[in-house]
Symmetry: C2
Amino acid sequence: MYNTTFAEIEAPIKWHAQASQAAPKMALAADRNDCEHCSSRKFCMPEGFDTKKAGAHNGVFGNMRKIKHGDAIFRAGEPFRNLYVAKVGSFKTVAIDNDGREQIIGFPIAGEFIGMDGIGTGVHAFDAIALEDGIVCSLPFSALIEMSEHDLSLRSHLHKLMSRELVRESALLMLMGRMTAIERLVSFLLNISKRYAQRGYSSHDFNLRMTRDEIGCHLGLTLETVSRSLSKLSSLGLVKCAGKQVSIIDMAGLEQVSGHYIPH
Amino acid sequence: MYNTTFAEIEAPIKWHAQASQAAPKMALAADRNDCEHCSSRKFCMPEGFDTKKAGAHNGVFGNMRKIKHGDAIFRAGEPFRNLYVAKVGSFKTVAIDNDGREQIIGFPIAGEFIGMDGIGTGVHAFDAIALEDGIVCSLPFSALIEMSEHDLSLRSHLHKLMSRELVRESALLMLMGRMTAIERLVSFLLNISKRYAQRGYSSHDFNLRMTRDEIGCHLGLTLETVSRSLSKLSSLGLVKCAGKQVSIIDMAGLEQVSGHYIPH
DNA sequence: CGGAGCATTGATGCCGATCAAGTCTCGTGG
DNA sequence: CCACGAGACTTGATCGGCATCAATGCTCCG
């Protein structure tokens, strides 16, 4: 019935069980963890980077934090201190304008960075919310910057991360400015598919962790249009979908529909 | 008849005259220039940064390059080597998808960085085109990164630049996803106004350097809709506009129209 | 002065928003 | 275990904003 989820594979956390055991503030409880065995390792720091030597002992790496479904890693307006790497679960980053209108900027999943919006001003510009119970790894930014002094690979790694995010957003701009509803949805599905594939999961069958409303809020569409577009893709025989469970039937067919959404 | 332009104030370059004098490849001719007297200085490097000491003598700073109207600083697909700072003139950065559809990502003007899209992959993702004859300052990126090893302020400056660009784009996403044509145009005008003001120019009267088509291509609208929306704002008494010359009559009124476009 | 590119304005049509109703899913408590 | 209710999803009907098509006017440069 369910797809295998990151959470199931990674760490079968018993939220309530743990809460009743030890930490009183479970949602904020911090764990220590070994970078070497982290499945996000290859998405996080540069190749060959020695996290142990670099700072495991001074507390820079391996700071796990659990985030419950619906809770925020941080909120817009809060001071920026850490970058976060999604370790388990999926998240959304949300910009909110003066009139309260929301725009979902991205849906980060395992291995992807969250929080770079705060670097420029020292204050977060987005909310970062968990779409399901999950875990993030906190990286104190000032420590990261200091550490990068003698590590060229770390320095350029940080730049690359941000630049790629820039290009990712520009692809979204293209999508919003120039594509039809169907094209946007297809781009979105292909993007998800690709990122899942990179992480060793099926590129054909997956669960969408977000609601239709959230997809719409990301793509500049209403939830009804998202639903209708999905139905359309089903009736065209390109995908099969039952609720949040999506199966891509004809990948090549999908790719022909869209002008693409290159990122990640 | 004309507004005072950056070009007029900065350096009254006689393109053709110069071409006939010295350099055979005028458009690509490089000049050397003194950062201390550069009007973009305060927008470019961090406060107190000593460009002379840092690298004027090894050629990192002060590499001027003239770009003629319509010419490219770089094109998508070209290898990334330099960051550029717009010194004179205005530019557009353009993403082009597989189907040839264009999306203008931004309109950088004096003091703003161009080319950060190439850092992530080592290859430029955008075209960067001059909207009028202009000058950019080239900063060899590898030298910049090396230089940042012993300069914390430079390191964090680079990060801030990219992060701000990230937030700028996210504001554009908000605009494209959730705003009406009029709101988008107002956000655009307010953004231009603000950036001109920061540079000491009038925030009320300015020339749009780009065509209606380019504005539309930036905002996800057609040129007709841009034109109609401008007419509407005129008839509402919020702006006066004659071709590319725009005067903001009622700044507060404009600000009420839009959910904003925070960036820069 | 002539022509090309740019801009304005009008008429029409379509895509997606909006409004509305009904179904499905899942968590909760009886 | 089932009943219930709230939230999520689907599908239909209608409406409106913007794209599209089209014609004309304007501006600037050679």
